[in-house]
């Protein structure tokens, strides 16, 4: 299923030149904030959980997921160069699978690693806060990548739709309507993080079983459907 050549091309598309800049900018910002908070405030478990939960998991992980997930396939479909890839004897589901692996890897590296470091800067992993949010970021990376890769194959406005989901649905509706939290990748990831670290600062609205089932279902269904969509892709002209 995994095709090294497709993977190499996707890595280059994602990390080439200026595009990597925005990917580096976000984690750098998180680390700067973490350092600033530590300097201002000293180590405080609650503050550390607030920063990691509010900035890292709620803003940074979805944004990097959107960039990596849609960026893995969106631009190629957009400018039509996907035909050169599709005309090679590579199965289309395996193209999707390879791109998903790359997107997951990029999202994990650029979101989970800085989260872990920021957690250590903030309070030296007191009450397992850093580990908990790193686990959440790792889990969320998988689901976000699959979801946004699917969006990239479905729509030309994948980035906008992905951002609306991440910012409006998860952040805005999630804070206003309790029901919206059940259908949020962020909360599913938090449920796992809660299990890993025991009770404490990390809480989730969703039960562990529900979260695991939904996470797995979203990832598998999104990947399958993306492969299905790519299988019967028609190239749209520029409007």
């Amino acid at each position: 299923m995994y095709n090294p050549t497709v993977a190499r091309l996707t890595y280059r598309a994602l990390l080439g030149r200026r595009r990597a800049l925005i990917l580096f900018l976000l984690p750098a910002m998180l680390l700067v904030i973490a350092a600033a908070v530590r300097a201002f405030n000293g180590a405080d478990d609650q503050v550390a959980a607030d920063v990691l939960g509010g900035f890292a998991l709620a803003t940074m992980v979805p944004l990097i997921g959107v960039i990596a997930g849609t960026g893995a396939i969106g631009p190629e479909i957009d400018d039509g160069s996907i035909v050169y890839l599709l005309s090679k004897p590579v199965k289309r589901p395996s193209i999707i699978f390879t791109k998903l692996i790359v997107a997951i890897a990029v999202t994990m590296v650029f979101s989970a690693v800085p989260t872990f470091i920021a957690g250590f800067i903030l309070n030296g992993n007191g009450q397992q806060v850093a580990v908990a949010y790193t686990v959440a970021a790792l889990v969320a990376s998988i689901a976000y990548s699959a979801l946004f890769l699917l969006l990239g194959t479905i729509s030309r406005h994948a980035v906008v739709i992905g951002l609306v989901y991440a910012l409006v649905w998860e952040a805005l509706f999630g804070s206003l309507i309790a029901g919206a939290r059940t259908l949020s990748v962020q909360q599913w990831a938090l449920a796992l993080a809660q299990k890993v670290t025991g009770d404490g600062l990390v809480t989730s609205e969703v039960g562990l079983t529900t979260a695991v089932v939904l996470l797995a279902a979203v990832t598998v269904v999104a990947t399958w459907f993306a492969g299905h969509k790519l299988g019967k892709l028609t190239l749209a002209g520029e409007e």
Partner: protein, 303 residues
């Protein structure tokens, strides 16, 4: 040529002729530079709302425009029915509350305004017309700012008309409406400039969208997190200085200092007149700076 019999060695030079096929030079009116600039402006402004583009590209901007207006209509309806003496939201606060919508509008429309020209290398075609670099940049900048101004001022207009329908005090409401308009005009200039700079640096539309929303949301998320922590640790002096680092808090600070708006900073501690002057200077510097960056960007573009 095909009618001539092939006589390669015998072909005499006096049989060739130049035919007059009727080319004429253009002698109609030449509409000139300002006309081209105006056309580019109106085309970009219409394009921001999907007018003159496919039906699919009208959906998102029109939807966002609707989302901007609906809360205003609801507020007005409530105010008229319950005969309030005061609107339940300040004019100046409206754009701050709906900043996500404004951000998504900018992120989706700024790249379509400039990125496609760059990606398909059509920019040289513009410059084959009698327009200069400054005209192109000014037209695009002006169109984006006007599109944002439309998006943010129409809800205020709805609020103002509604307040008059609900028989509130004309003088006070009009003054506050004016202050609101001034604030959203500043916001439109600032956001338009930032959005266009981000979009002009990335020819890929998708990355442009992400860069714009990143610049707006991430900076706001970072600033409000830090402000919250500063408030929690009684570091009240730091709150108003932290606001300098994100576009929406800049606007919030300016209108708190000069336009009589309530601050949405934690604790309601907005900047005073002195700090407010710094805010205003930073906003103006950012607007001028984004114009300068755009001028630099288009110096060698596509040639």
């Amino acid at each position: 040529m095909s009618t001539q019999t092939p006589q390669p060695s015998q072909a005499a030079p006096d049989t060739t002729r130049i035919h007059n096929i009727g080319y004429r030079s253009y002698d109609g009116p030449r509409l000139g530079r300002s006309y081209a600039r105006r056309s580019l402006f109106s085309q970009s402004l219409r394009g921001a709302y999907g007018l003159g583009r496919s039906a699919k590209s009208k959906v998102l901007p029109m939807l966002l425009f609707g989302v901007m207006c609906v809360p205003a209509l609801i507020i007005v309806a409530v105010a008229v029915v319950t005969k309030q003496t005061k609107l339940s939201i300040e004019y100046t606060q409206y754009a701050i509350f709906l900043q996500v919508v404004i951000g998504i509008f900018l992120a989706s429309q700024a790249p379509q305004s400039v990125s496609r020209d760059l990606r398909f290398r059509t920019v040289p075609l513009y410059f084959s017309r009698p327009i200069e670099r400054a005209d192109y940049v000014l037209a695009k900048f002006g169109a984006m700012a006007s599109a944002l101004f439309l998006l943010t001022s129409v809800p205020l207009l709805i609020l103002w008309i509604g307040s008059l329908l609900a028989k509130m005090d004309f003088g006070t409401q009009t003054q506050m409406f004016g202050q609101g308009l001034l604030s959203v005009a500043l916001l439109s200039l600032l956001f338009g400039g930032i959005g266009l700079v981000m979009a002009a640096l990335t020819p890929r539309r998708g990355f442009g969208v992400a860069a714009v929303i990143g610049a707006l949301t991430i900076s706001y998320g970072a600033v409000s997190t830090l402000q919250g922590i500063a408030y929690g640790t009684d570091n009240l002096g730091a709150i108003s200085w932290l606001g300098l680092f994100s576009p929406i808090t800049l606007i919030d600070g300016v209108q708190t200092a000069f336009l009589g708006a309530p601050s949405s900073f934690p604790g309601g501690e907005g900047p005073g007149a002195g700090t407010g002057a710094v805010y205003l200077l930073v906003v103006l510097a950012l607007v001028a700076g984004s114009y300068g960056i755009l001028m630099r960007r288009y110096r060698k573009v596509g040639l």
